[in-house]
């Protein structure tokens, strides 16, 4: 996808259920597959990556659509831990 369209203006938005999976996805689309098992091993795509529940993303979404599509799930997710994990990925501290 990145090869075909280029990475300019591309953003990854995750719907992962916990901090660990968020970190794994986040590292894969920034530094490359951390397990070195998949096709993205060593691929430094450096794509900006956020979770759909992070405030800076949520605030841009139509509130009715967000509540309908994400509201119930958000209640059971540890959004603080997910945000912290992705913040570390974006800052290169993961």
């Amino acid at each position: 996808m990145a090869d075909r369209l280029g990475t300019e203006g591309m953003v990854v938005i995750l719907g992962t259920p916990n901090a660990e999976s968020s970190r794994l996805y986040g590292l894969t689309v920034t530094e490359g597959d951390p397990s070195w098992a998949g096709v993205l091993a060593g691929a430094n795509l450096n794509l900006p990556v956020y979770h759909i529940t992070e405030p800076e993303i949520k605030s841009q979404i139509d509130p009715d659509i967000y509540e309908d599509q994400v509201g119930l799930t958000e209640i059971v997710l540890d959004t603080g831990e997910i945000r912290e994990a992705l913040s570390q990925v974006r800052n290169g501290d993961a």
Partner: protein
């Protein structure tokens, strides 16, 4: 991160938020979805 006019890769998960739900949300923010998937690890 302003989503307007961005190309979005929506990586959903069945136990979290599905890709289709992410797509609907980001389109409402003015973004274009270029890939929308929902993974299931059961």
């Amino acid at each position: 991160m302003d989503l307007k006019n961005k190309k979005i890769i929506a990586l959903g998960e069945r136990d979290g938020v599905q890709g289709s739900a992410i797509s609907l949300c980001v389109r409402s923010a003015g973004a274009e979805v270029v890939l929308d998937v929902t993974h299931c690890f059961v």
